[in-house]
Amino acid sequence: MIKHLRSAADLDAATATLILDTAAEMAALSGREVKKLPALRGRTVVNLFYEDSTRTRISFEAAAKRLSADVINFSAKGSSVSKGESLKDTALTLQAMGADAVVIRHWASGAPHRLANWVDGSVVNAGDGTHEHPTQALLDAYTMRSRLGRLDGLRVAIVGDVLHSRVARSNVLLLTTLGAQVTVVGPPTLIPLDVAAALSEKTQVSFDLDAVLPDSDVVMMLRVQTERMQDSYFPSAREYSRRYGLDVSRLAKMPEHAIVMHPGPMNRGMEIAPEVADSPRSTIVEQVANGVSVRMAVLYLLLGGK
């Protein structure tokens, strides 16, 4: 088993499948009265969050607690980081406290890779800048597999702000490893063509959402990340929504069995219409529930053994 989960590229098909299978067993726990397993008793998991997060932090915390690990939550606000402490000094502090795993979210791409050089424990990337978010990709893959029964040969469209999306990058890497056919869709200004090509030669690029929809089993909408945008990438929110937003009429163009995904948080009315987000074909709430099972599987597989 791997030691760190820094990138979806750390996972080969066998390891990724093992994580998804383990997550399926972990999911059975949520139906039990005692939602706790002793597998990580006495282990310490630190949640190191330099960026705001609701679902990812809570999800990792719930996952670690259900495996009986001790959880220490650290957020940059209200810590010595606001006094100017560097990532390395913070890492050495965690090291001295004996963290067995550090779950890190950071605004800088590559921060988990640096951190892995400074601590002895396992490092799990919970989102680094515009780079990667591997556990999100795993929970998305898990959701697709549980809804549609397979990943191999599945046609997945990833739509919207690909340029700023760590979710898109990790998903492209993981899904192509698992045999899915990925098409990234969005305005040319928000698709890094070189990156899309470099990520995988199997990935296709399209600027026309309406042409891609009828041939997709999964449509994954991405959040337009205005907080990361320093330029104007499209003329107006309305125009973006008209060309790349998923509304009821576009939903009707998708095959009957196709599902709609969104990693959250959503801009309702921008990239996704409220009626679509709340429709039975949307897996958005399911994705959150699956997140806990998948993160339990990751923590168990990284920390459970020798």
Binding site: M1, L18, D21, E25, V34, L37, P38, A39, L67, K306
Partner: protein
Amino acid sequence: MAQPRADAPSKIILAESDLHRVVDRIAHQILEKTSGATGTVLLGIPTRGVPLAHRLAARIHAFEGVEVPVGSLDITLYRDDLRLKATRALGRTELPPGGIDGLRVILVDDVLFSGRSVRAALDALNDVGRPSSVQLAVLVDRGHRQLPIRADYVGKNIPTALSESVKVTLTETDGADEVKLLGGLS
């Protein structure tokens, strides 16, 4: 513990027909000791305890027409040697639809050795429900207990040396029914 080499001498302890007779006998003993196996659930411990539990249920049904619910109980996450070995893949835990609360649970495993698996199973059981009582059925008891645990139903007692190992194969998991003793000085 050192595993015997692949080319170590081996001895067949139970051939196919012996194994079937042993399963039949355990099924009869369960019926006898539980007065007809009412209010009873069989829980197999993966991997080979699960097909054994299903066979016992089938035999009990054949002998007296009683349907005994069967399930499986994975103990991986409850083992005391988890962090001494490489990460293990999980098995499946599947309780019968009626659950186990207030019922007599019979744990089923292939080999009883140190007793540590059974201890883990008792812990796992504690988290999934509250049975009225718990019993243990094993195909082979090879001795060398490290915990105060004993089986209620034993297919065959095999005196072994620590350097030996007992290998159970079943049609469902390995393609053939057999119990072998591997290694040692024979």
